[in-house]
Amino acid sequence: MSAGRAGETALPIEVSRAPGPPAMASPAPLTADRVAELLTGSGLVLDLGLARVRVRSPLAWPAAAQIATAYRHFGADADAEPGNAAPPWADLHLDLRPGLGLRRWVRPQVRLLADGLTAFEPFPAAQVLPLLEWGANWLIGRRMNDVLLLHAGTLARDGRALLMPALPGSGKSTLTAALVTRGWRLLSDEFGACDPASGLMRPCVKPVALKNASIDVIRRFAPAAELGPSFEGTRKGTVAHLAPPAASVAARHQAAVPALLVIPRWQAGSATTLEPITPESAFTSLAFNAFNYTALGATGFRTVLGLVRRMALWRLVYSDLEDATQRLDALWSQLAADAPAPAPTPLAHDAAVAPHAG
């Protein structure tokens, strides 16, 4: 397990599934062939940090290629101890299956099932990755009520987290992707997962979904970005996925102290404006824009209150991505200089997974 950078808040170290030398700092990338083998076999288990997702499919293609591209740095998850037949723990169990009846062949579809049930309309068979990503997000948002799930892009530097609530028109995913390409650690582009017991932000590392114009924006912003193929004609238009960087994947079990809240809003032609906001605005932007705030009742209330009291509270209006990221960097540096380094605080409970017996 690679050591976190100085100041990173470390959770109890994930127990390696295989006895022997610890995992390499940069595991071999996930290959499509390996994914295909696992999809059609015991399942590909992707450890996102917050949750472990098992994916299986009777048809390996095109799923294997799409998944391998988006999850290329999850190579360690595909390692299996030879002879160890017991499948590792998973929190979510997803099946990608061909369309029913004629729709297996005619204008073929792909379906997503969880525990044998489908809750989603089928997608065209070529859009496996969008269906998987969207379905997994939906299920995580519904099920993982042990943490408060805000709808926010969440990044980290030096053990501290930046939260960007995903209000409509925010350009949250574009900003998140941009910051990731500039070296910020990706916790999630969808979930601000806050552990109520500790108040810390937990990673849920998945590909960043970019839509329509944002795809080209990020290609220009960061030509070396690991962007997967574009899927046209999805429910949300054209979608492409930015693969989480290796360092973000390696740190998926390291929580971060929430430090800065920035409510972004993209507005064509606007100058970059970064200004403080009231705790009331911040509270509203978090509580009324979460997946499970209401379901968590008093726990949700107290957790959001804690976040609002703990973080610096700002809003950002921008049209130029480069300028916005630079201003955010500058704000961050200024706040970091003013604040002491966070003390490492382990979480009370982590999904540290022990290998199956037998």
Binding site: D115, N145, H349, A352
Partner: protein
């Protein structure tokens, strides 16, 4: 293949873990693989919240492996919220119906929760079910409507279907909490082959202390649950109803008059078949303690029920696998039971009209 918990009833149907709902200490023997299986299956069967409650109530959450414990905690929170939302919706309902000169009876999950029944905690109620005398239906709906409960949009045919043929009005919804409210005037469709006199149910209703509501008497709650299950259209994943019935009868176990009353009531209301089926599965899967054979005239399964209905229901009430599509046998079983339901529910002429209308409707 994860090892099943040995020897508890229902083990060969993959339901051995159900015993943990009543004896949570059994879960201490489960390894992580078993926990994973149980969490998945119980979630699908909508029993995870009840398992979580049982484990938490027994003070055993800390003994559960953390990867599993978080799911129990998460579902416990979710179920608590769903139940709290129901209670709040019932407050709204109570305000709307305050002063109504007729009885209003809570049915099913609403009743169990308000009563503080042992099968209340951990449920995932999605709607409120109320029973009123048929003559009071319009008044009840008017009161609810005045308080903001509005009808879900339906076409004219469906409206008439509900009002004339069914046992309930089209569902009502409230903008504040989105819960559906189903106003019933009977527990089974009025044109179905089995007719229950709702007045008899209301005649024996019981008040819930400290609340403005009434509930059915215990025998009627058992019979309603059984009838609602075995005369319904969709039986997939409905083993939770068997769990309910088991819980209800165990709750009444101390009352020596309960079993004879249940037998008599089933006869009186014409619900022998669903009761016989329910008790069969209760004993088979949950080891429900029944009175010794011959002591109480409980309805027995007739030949065709034992050899046709039991195997069909057995294949459908719980999924055989979570990792594959239903088998051909399962799908055929469900289709047969669906056909049985339709034949039971509507006279043939009405069934044709209803089906024709559904086919004609633009998609």
């Amino acid at each position: 293949m994860p090892a099943e918990v040995r020897h508890p009833p229902g083990a060969q149907h993959g339901l051995g873990w159900l015993a943990a709902l009543r004896e949570p200490a059994r879960c201490l023997t489960w390894d992580l693989s078993q926990w994973e299986h149980v969490i998945r299956l119980s979630r699908r069967l909508r029993l995870l919240g009840r398992l979580a409650h049982a484990v938490a109530q027994a003070g055993l959450l800390d003994a559960v492996p953390p990867p599993a414990a978080r799911h129990l905690l998460a579902e416990q929170r979710y179920a608590t919220w769903r139940c709290d939302t129901l209670l709040w919706a019932l407050e709204d309902g109570a305000r709307a119906l305050a002063g109504a000169p007729y009885p209003v009876v809570l049915l099913k999950g609403s009743a169990y929760i308000v009563q503080g029944s042992a099968i209340g905690p951990g449920r995932l109620p999605s709607d409120v079910d109320l029973l009123v005398p048929r003559s009071s239906l319009d008044d009840a709906q008017a009161r609810l409507s005045a308080a903001g409960w509005t009808e879900v949009a339906l076409d004219a045919h469906d409206q008439r279907y509900y009002r004339e043929w069914s046992h309930e009005l089209p569902p009502l919804r409230h903008p504040h909490h989105g819960l559906e409210l189903d106003l019933h005037h009977n527990i089974l469709p009025v044109v179905a082959r089995t007719r229950v006199d709702a007045a008899r149910l209301i005649e024996h209703m019981r008040p819930v202390r400290g609340s403005p509501w009434h509930v059915l008497q215990p025998t009627d709650q058992v019979l309603h649950s059984a009838a609602h299950l075995f005369y319904d259209a969709d039986h997939g994943d409905r083993v939770r109803d068997i769990v309910d019935i088991d819980g209800l009868v165990r709750q009444e176990a101390a009352d020596p008059g309960f079993w004879p009353a249940l037998a008599g009531r089933a006869q009186e209301l014409g619900l022998q078949q669903p009761l016989a089926l329910a008790l069969h599965f209760c004993r088979q899967w949950l080891d429900t303690p029944l009175p010794p054979a011959g002591t109480v005239p409980l309805p027995r399964l007739r030949w065709h029920e034992q050899h046709l209905l039991v195997p069909l229901f057995g294949r459908v009430l719980t999924p055989s696998t979570l990792d594959d599509e239903p088998t051909l046998t399962e799908r055929c079983s469900q289709q047969l039971l669906l056909a049985r339901h339709h034949l039971w529910r509507m006279p043939p002429a009405m069934l044709v009209a209803h089906t024709w209308n559904k086919l004609r409707r633009p998609r």
